[in-house]
Symmetry: C2
Subunit: 155 residues, 2 copies
């Protein structure tokens, strides 16, 4: 088995924070009145999808860093301002938690939140992929609302 690194943990954090900056811009341009009300095809609103991102990001990094999985998420956010404020607080918190993940931990098996088995790098990657997936859906909502989403290639 080839054990060449594809990407370092430092690069991966930078990559994720670049994606998070893009998601923040998508939240910013989303019309306040549509954020928690507009949806297509019975899907969740973009506000609900953004809340899911927040519920996954810091708690997963916390479990990775401390080996203790949080069981609750505080905050029932209902406005754009509250979402963005939490987003920024979590940006700083993610940097702290990421730095505290022991190097050998990324290849360890664990069960996130007592429910989702996988290696730590796989679990973190899942959270990032989930954000990209749902942000892409938010882009469709924005287009349907006649609003230009932020450029995907800018991070």
């Amino acid at each position: 088995m080839n054990e060449t690194a594809f990407i370092s943990t430092d690069e991966m954090l930078k990559h994720w924070q670049g994606h998070r900056a893009l998601t923040r811009r998508a939240i910013e341009v989303f019309p306040e009145e549509a954020l928690f009300t507009y949806s297509i095809g019975g899907m969740r609103t973009f506000g609900e999808l953004a809340l899911e991102m927040l519920r996954m990001a810091v708690p997963t990094a916390e479990g990775a860093a401390t080996r203790v999985w949080p069981t609750s998420f505080s905050g029932d956010l209902t406005t754009k301002a509250a979402l963005l404020e939490r987003w920024d607080a979590d940006t700083a918190r993610l940097n702290e938690l990421w730095a505290a993940i022991p190097p050998e931990r990324f290849e360890e098996d664990d069960v996130a939140f007592g429910a989702f088995p996988g290696k730590i790098n796989w679990l973190l990657q899942y959270v990032i992929d989930n954000e990209i997936h749902h942000r892409g859906q938010g882009y469709v909502y924005l287009r349907a609302l006649g609003i230009e989403p932020p450029a995907f290639y800018e991070r």
Copy 2:
């Protein structure tokens, strides 16, 4: 600078092929008559988005493996069967090309297709992220068409 590996190149290929298998299922369940005609908010059809994924994946892996960037993409596919056939051929081709990427190459700077500067791992990651982003948009199209998309967590 911490140089711990987040994920190995072997794991990354497996991760990508897992995503590609999911995207293939999304193409499979997409109604043939809507694949190249249906869209929301003036966006591209899911067929066009899938074609973009094909235009990026193998050519980027080829540039990574050979240091020569292809300048054309053959095939003007217009049916689901043709897309899926190309998808499967490219799955095999990606495995071959990935194995041919020199280990030190992932951290090298290059200019993909003479136009997009970046490290090889960043360029490959961009192609994967772009697939996740656009597949998420295909999920909205599917929901709007009343069709259940494949489960995101199955790869």
